[in-house]
Amino acid sequence: MEIVMAFACGFLFMSAVYLILSKSLLRIIIGTGLLSHGAHLLILTMGGFGGSNPPVLADGVTEYVDPLPQALILTAIVISFGVTAFFLVLAYRAYQELKTDDMTQMKGSENHE
């Protein structure tokens, strides 16, 4: 299972890097989304898989799954959700103002020497 997850994370990171390196702003934002998904899956994998065991420790339960990674992922997902929403709004506003979504046309500043 860990091997499968490693490939899944790796594939997500690969696609994310590909998308982030492209010119279009929208593709970059989707790339950042995939990047954080990859990171979240990685936390899940790093916590270790426990098969069908419950994530609680109670009397008589000797095998249990570490519940902490799930709490961490939830926090990280909420944060990346908020940031992505902000980023999308900003991208739209920047498109209206700068009349382009092409990153190559957004470098430097107009009063640069």
Partner: protein, 496 residues
């Protein structure tokens, strides 16, 4: 149990929430912000005295047993940084009355400042590595607001890059925490320190150390990860720039300082040697930038990069003298950078340009501004008895003790470059023929900008002259940094 240490985080947060209401009433917004910061400063000061008297203060949320609950730890390093943060925020907000502009004030500038202070103080205080990530996000969210507030073209363009860089570095942070968790199985920083010492830092932990250096280095602007900083910081108005320059990069520096003194102390030959080399390269890169530019904002922004290098050089030595110097220099740099940004803000206001070549002859009309600028510039370069001297002295002394003679001499030589870069502003702007003057300038706004700036320069002078009084606090801080067991014992045995 001592909940008192949470007040410098909770009060700005609470006031930030109140400020979300009544956004159009400027008087209410301004007074409430200053009031909130003032109360926080008093609490932070009391906290610092308390920490000095009773040792590190610990609180674990929900009264969970220590390695399981989220712990907040206020030791001397974090107490000092929290106090400095609040004092700087106070002066910057005051300065902002004259320069931030009514439009921004009406659209959540003050809540943004309060939330960024919440995030910065939280990051300084937390004792849990994942919680550190959360507080990083809190301060980043507020910084996204502040960098784009106003919606000028340059701001929109630069804030996209700024957010992209920070999203990537946050993802890396999560990945690094995941790796660390899979190796040591805990998130509590004190517990991580003990666990890494138990397994004697195998190779995988060194890899994690380098990943942490990348994550925090991206925020702290070390070489070669500083590339985003100059253009992103130049976009927002001066008070926001001062806030970013004084606080945000320093949070990254603090995080490197904390992880490299608490966790990764068993393979110094690799991790700290790497830190040493990177800090020297950071200074070189910053010096080139500071000398190459004729834009006053860029010159001071590149000076942030140089200072980060100097502080991390102190951390890389890992002995008590250098660490004390690093803390001294860190706080000095926060104060003096804010003061310098405020001063060049005034220069930009009276001349109406950021280009040095168009300025000149301000000494005739604004002698006081010139003298205060000169004091701040000399303080930045570390001319005794001003504030930069003692920190640099201790860092270099620590460097000699650790046997890094040539690199320590290089640090001393870099002071000359720093001095040259800021004195160049003095020579171009204050001497010579009368240059460009702004036509929209009025005296009362000038005074509104000038008084908080004088206040902050005076604070920096006091910090330098009063070294004798501050030294016991710094000594305490360096002890905590140089001996990780003080920190971990306080958390694991002292906390309930």
């Amino acid at each position: 149990m001592n909940n008192f240490l949470l007040l410098p985080i909770l009060i700005p947060f609470f006031f930030g929430m109140i400020l979300l209401f009544g956004q159009k009433k400027l008087g209410y917004q301004r007074i409430t912000t200053l009031l909130g910061l003032m109360i926080s400063i008093i609490c932070a000061f009391a906290l610092m005295l308390n920490v000095n008297q009773n040792g590190p203060q610990i609180v674990t949320f929900g009264n969970w047993p220590v390695p399981f609950g989220i712990t907040m730890v206020s030791d001397m390093v974090s107490a000092l940084l929290v106090l400095t943060t609040l004092v700087l925020a106070f002066f910057i907000v005051w300065y902002g009355f004259g320069s931030i502009g009514k439009e921004r004030e009406r659209f959540f500038y003050y809540p943004g400042v309060m939330f960024i202070v919440t995030g910065v103080n939280g990051a300084f205080t937390t004792g849990d590595i994942f919680n550190l990530f959360v507080f990083f996000e809190v301060l980043l969210m507020a910084s996204y607001l502040l960098i784009v507030l106003g919606g000028e073209k340059a701001q929109l363009r630069e804030s996209i890059k700024y957010i992209l860089i920070n999203v990537i570095s946050s993802a890396l942070f999560v990945i690094t925490v995941a790796y660390l968790y899979s190796v040591v199985g805990t998130l509590n920083m004190a517990d991580i320190s003990v666990k890494i010492a138990e397994i004697n830092q195998p190779g995988i932990v060194t890899v994690i150390a380098v990943l942490f250096l990348m994550v925090f280095g991206m925020k702290a602007a070390i070489f070669p990860l500083y590339f985003w900083l100059p253009s992103a910081y130049a976009a927002p108005p001066i008070p926001v720039l001062a806030l970013f320059g004084a606080l945000l990069t320093k949070v990254g520096v603090y995080a490197i300082m904390r992880t490299y003194t608490l966790f990764f102390t068993h393979d110094l030959a690799y991790t700290h040697e790497l830190l040493l080399i990177l800090s020297i390269l950071t200074i070189v890169a910053g010096s080139i930038g500071a000398l190459a530019h004729f834009d006053v904002k860029q010159i001071i922004i590149y000076n942030i990069v140089i200072a980060v290098g100097v502080i991390l050089f102190g951390v890389a030595q890992m002995n008590e003298a250098a660490l004390e110097g690093a803390v001294f220099y860190l706080i000095h740099d926060m104060i003096i950078k804010a003061a310098l940004f405020m001063l060049i803000g005034i220069i930009i206001y009276v001349t109406g340009t950021t280009n040095l070549r168009k300025m000149g002859g301000l000494m005739g009309n604004y002698p006081a501004l010139g003298w205060f600028y000169l004091i701040a510039a000399l303080g930045l370069a570390g001319v005794p008895p001003l504030s930069g001297f003692i920190g640099k002295l201790l860092i270099v002394q620590g460097g000699f003790q650790a046997g890094n003679v040539w690199t320590s001499i290089f640090i001393l030589a870099s002071s000359l470059v720093v001095l040259l870069s800021v004195i160049r502003i003095f020579i171009y702007a204050f001497w010579g023929e009368q240059g460009q003057l702004s036509s929209t300038m009025n005296k009362s706004t000038y005074n509104l900008l000038f008084f908080p700036t004088i206040g902050l320069v005076l604070v920096s002078i006091l910090y330098g002259v009063g070294t004798e009084i501050i030294q016991p606090f710094m000594n305490e801080a360096s002890k905590v940094l140089s001996d990780p067991s003080i920190y971990s014992d306080a958390v694991l045995k002292g906390g309930k």
